[in-house]
């Protein structure tokens, strides 16, 4: 079974601020790491390969430094990595990203399963997986918390708002995974060494046969017009006194507010 894992490099913290001068994100002290849920996707791909055979290719679209994330994925145990990168791809929203990723899956060829994290912690959209599924004309299973393979079918458990749903789908399939699926492994030092010796080809839009109007800024229907920090409330009333006094006063206030 051939698996592709799509990973995104994200900031190591989501505790970010806006630079008051440039009005852009303040990127000082921020380094890139693999999106946490994408590690669950990598872990699951490794377990499925070890049990059912096949190969794992990990791909990411991003600037050249994204190669670090791909190396880490190789060190965890993926077989191959491809970086999808060129100037023309920059400024992509999820539609343009999904298009490029689907082109790469097609180029890899004979893929049975494409795994994604449920969402990326920076952009927080969770829509890239289903978009790729649509471009590839694959079935999709989102919010996956358990996977079982059986011939050319997968049975998966999805974690939804009010309960768990079990579904069965024929391959090929796109899945987006939650952290409830597994616990990602740490890479062994020997594998980290090996990962450094592996070749990571870089595919540009021409290698992928992308329509130039479908990638980067021209291929992105949405534009971000403004970013800001959410406003915080400041009129908090701190209740003072002994525990007994505080509780009495709180209940009196809530009663007066008709809150209880």
């Amino acid at each position: 079974m051939n698996i592709v894992v799509c990973i995104k490099q994200v900031p190591n913290t989501i505790d970010v601020r806006i630079d008051p001068v440039s009005k852009n994100l303040d990127r000082t002290n921020i380094t890139g790491v693999i999106n946490p849920f994408d590690k669950n996707a990598i872990e699951e791909a490794i377990r499925l390969r070890d049990k059912h055979g096949g190969e794992i290719t990990v791909i990411s679209m991003g600037p050249p430094q994204t190669i670090d994330a791909l190396r880490e994925a190789l060190a965890m145990g993926c077989d191959h990595a491809r970086l999808l990168s060129c100037r023309e791809m920059a400024g992509a929203d999820t539609l343009a990203t999904g298009y490029v990723l689907s082109k790469a899956v097609n180029k890899i060829g004979a893929v049975d399963m494409v795994l994604f994290g449920s969402h990326a912690v920076d952009a927080d959209t969770g829509q890239t997986g289903p978009i790729v599924a649509e471009f590839l004309d694959f079935r999709q299973i989102t919010f996956v918390s358990q996977i079982d393979m059986e011939g050319n079918h997968v049975t998966a458990e999805r974690m939804l708002e009010e309960g768990r749903e079990r579904v069965r789908s024929k391959l090929p399939v796109v899945m987006t995974v939650t952290k409830h699926l597994n616990t990602p492994r740490y890479s062994k030092p020997v594998n980290i060494m090996k990962a450094f010796r592996k070749d990571i080809p870089i595919w540009n839009y021409e290698d992928l046969g992308c329509d130039i109007n479908m990638i980067g800024i021209p291929g992105s229907p949405t534009i971000v017009t403004e970013i800001f920090e959410p406003k915080r409330r400041s009129e908090v009333e701190m209740i003072q006194g002994s525990p007994e006094e505080m509780v009495k006063e709180l209940v009196a206030k809530l009663t007066a507010d008709h809150a209880i």
Partner: protein
């Protein structure tokens, strides 16, 4: 694409077991407000095996029109099937705006539809507005809520968004509203290679946290599971529901259906009591619209206080039982 050919605000009607989900009513109410600005009308899209009384319910809650597609192949929700139907409807009627709930269903379906239509989709919106040029301004959180973004889709249609539950209020149910129900006879293809085997509800007792008027939230400050007893007593006294922060779900004390926050639920109760909750932004985005926010924390510097109405600095072990007692006393007077 002629942008001016695209008119109308569409809401995808989500339903389970013959009941329309609250998020749909919330979206209809907001769509109606937006439609007062651009005067394009609100359309609910209902895909079902049997629409039953759901179409009328959608009109009663703000739809000017309901477009219904009925088919045996719509017995269960399947992304591939519904996406094809929506694509056909959009091609025929050309809406300007297409809204979904940011629920597991909306987040599964909307991106598939968007990729078919090659348009823009903004996820998890917490506000919508129409700008001077008639474009939909979509406000969404990023970085777990640390940053908010305003997003436009200027050159493609429809402008698509998923919207988090509980950010907008529903309209009261109207009696005999104007409005029409259109039955659309488009063919629906079956999807036999994808089956839903079973659906098992999480085991939670009592009211759902998103429907409760009063919610008591326990955070990681609650140091042992035994202490949940005193918190449950407080919730019971308040006739409220129990909710938790993510660490308590990660510790497997509770299942995810009662987690509040960016990766949990958004709630908007009349009163929320935070106990041992620090107030991380990913938590706050899930409850900051509550009408009355009370927080109990032993650290005076806890960020939760900055979004609270009332704060008590103290150990919950001391405060919570006293609070339960005091409420009981007040009630009996």
């Amino acid at each position: 694409m002629q942008l001016t050919d695209y008119k109308g605000i569409w809401v995808f009607a989500e339903h389970r077991n013959g009941r329309i989900s609250d998020i749909t009513f919330e979206l209809l109410a907001k769509a109606k407000e937006l439609s007062d600005k651009n005067d394009e009308g609100v359309v609910a899209i209902l895909l079902a095996r049997d629409a039953g009384d759901m179409s009328q319910k959608l009109l009663n809650r703000g739809g000017d029109r309901v477009i219904v597609v009925e088919s045996d192949h719509l017995k269960e929700y399947k992304a591939i099937t519904c996406a094809k139907v929506l694509e056909a409807l959009v091609d025929k009627y050309r809406p300007s705006i297409l809204l979904f709930g940011a629920t597991s269903m909306g987040k599964d379906l909307a991106p598939r539809v968007m990729a078919k239509l090659r348009t823009g989709l903004t996820a998890d919106c917490m506000d919508l507005d129409i700008d001077g040029d008639g474009l939909l301004i979509q406000t969404k959180p990023s970085y777990g809520g640390n940053i908010m973004c305003k997003i436009l889709c200027p050159t493609r249609r429809p402008q698509m968004a998923t919207i988090r539950p509980k950010v907008f209020s529903q309209l009261e149910e109207m009696e005999n509203p104007k409005g029409e129900i259109v039955i659309e006879n488009i063919s629906v293809e079956p999807e036999n290679d994808y089956e839903i085997l079973e659906h098992v509800a999480y085991e939670t007792e009592g009211v759902k946290i998103e429907e409760a008027e009063i919610v008591v939230v326990a955070g990681r400050g609650v140091s042992s599971k035994d202490d949940m007893k005193m918190i449950e007593d407080l919730a019971k006294e308040l006739h409220g529901a129990i909710a938790v922060t993510r660490p308590l779900v990660d510790a497997e004390w509770y299942d995810p259906s009662i987690q509040v926050g960016a990766s949990g639920k958004t709630i908007k109760p009349k009163l929320i009591v935070n106990i041992g909750v620090s107030g991380a932004i990913q938590y706050n985005v899930g409850m900051q619209n509550a009408k009355n926010i009370v927080s109990i924390n032993k650290s005076p510097k806890a960020p939760i206080f900055s979004i609270s109405h009332y704060g008590i600095v103290g150990d919950y072990k001391r405060i919570v039982p006293l609070l339960t007692e005091e409420i009981k006393k007040t009630r009996s007077q």
